[in-house]
């Protein structure tokens, strides 16, 4: 059996390679979401009439989803704490709880979108709705991606393997939560 050596530590940065990589990913994510949010804010300020369209978004469901994501962030950071103790099984359980949070978020979102589309508000209904579906859609895609990666990390953590990945996927998940923290007031509250 051949042994393959993998560099797990960046000496110059004094940090694990995986964690450095996840921060690089997040920096590119800032540019992606930043571009969407900045252009939305610019157009929103230039179009006061968008407030009438924004009035149709459901602030109750938006707030519920914020609570769900904040709670899933708690379970993600608790999973990290469990991994630091070397308790892979608990870390895996908490990661699966986080995935459940993501699933609840998506279910609520799908109900919300179904209602809005039935009401006639689609991607092409106007500038506000274009941004609404694009921003929330790109965010939902990140939630789905995070859930998939987390399921994989949980499967290895359950065997007490590769526990450092628990923190890395957690950092990603907190970022997804952080983006929603800004989407909530922008899309649901500012009317």
């Amino acid at each position: 059996m051949s042994t393959k050596t993998i560099a797990t530590q960046r000496a110059a940065m004094n940090m694990p390679t995986g964690r450095l990589a996840i921060w690089w990913v997040l920096m590119s994510e800032i540019v992606i979401f930043g571009g969407i949010l900045v252009s939305y804010v610019l157009h929103r300020l230039a179009h006061p009439e968008w407030a009438e369209q924004a009035a149709y978004t459901n602030v109750h469901l938006g707030a519920t989803n914020t609570l769900v994501l904040l709670s899933s962030s708690l379970s993600a950071v608790l999973a990290h704490a469990a991994a630091e103790r070397g308790d892979g099984k608990r870390a895996a359980f908490l990661l699966r709880l986080t995935i459940l949070g993501g699933l609840i978020f998506l279910i609520i979102k799908s109900f919300e979108w179904t209602h809005e589309i039935h009401e006639g508000f689609t991607l092409q209904s106007g500038g506000f709705w274009s941004y609404y579906y694009t921003a929330a859609g790109v965010h939902a895609f990140h939630v789905i991606a995070g859930m998939c990666i987390m399921a994989w990390v949980a499967s290895t953590a359950a065997k007490n393997q590769e526990l450092h990945r628990v923190e890395n996927v957690g950092i990603y998940w907190h970022f997804v939560d952080l983006v929603w923290i800004f989407l909530f007031p922008l899309l649901y509250i500012a009317k």
């Binding site: 050596t5 530590q9 690089w24 608790l78 923290i181 007031p185």
Partner: protein
């Protein structure tokens, strides 16, 4: 078979997160995280009810504070306590600041184009197309208005889709 350890980041590679949270044991970490979550939920309630109250009272400043000010506080708390950015290496903070700076640069660069509705000789319509408010210099040739005749569009109608013939050609045809 990989040679990397089972849990790098838990030995001498660790962040030192425990020290930053004021406790060295897992239990105190967990209590700290639950406390932060509780504060975040309270802030969520503020950002939910605050704008409602602000709208009723007509206090625009309260709406902005409770909606966006609280969002900034929540984001800071998540980044500091859950992502542990405060105890990360300086390069990480530099990367994040660079990302945010690019956002600000984007805003500053395109804000004049989007938010300015008119200028000395132009204004934007609802579709953000520029239209000039003073007459532009005419170019000779095809851009000249066609003479009245069989090719001229009736008043109040749009010009035909096919290209208009040159003025001299049109005049020549009507002479026969």
């Amino acid at each position: 078979m990989t040679a990397h350890p089972q849990a790098p980041g838990h030995g001498n590679e660790t962040h030192g997160h425990g020290a930053s949270h004021g406790g060295g044991h897992g239990g105190s970490h967990e209590a700290h995280y639950v406390r932060i979550w509780a504060i975040l939920v309270v802030l969520l309630l503020v950002s939910y009810f605050g704008p409602m109250v602000a709208t009723k009272l007509g206090w625009h400043w309260l709406l902005l504070t409770t909606a966006f000010g609280v969002a900034v506080i929540k984001a800071y708390m998540v980044a500091k306590n859950f992502m542990h950015i405060n105890v990360e290496q300086p390069i990480i903070k530099f990367m994040m600041v660079t990302g945010v700076a690019l956002m600000v640069l984007l805003y500053g660069a395109i804000a004049p184009d989007i938010q300015k509705g008119d200028g000395q000789n132009w204004q934007k319509d609802a579709g953000f197309h520029h239209s000039f408010t003073t007459s532009k210099p005419h170019h000779a040739g095809a851009h000249e208005p066609a003479p009245a005749g069989e090719h001229a569009a009736p008043a109040g109608e749009h010009a035909p889709a096919e290209p208009m013939p040159a003025a001299s050609e049109s005049t020549g045809a009507s002479g026969h």
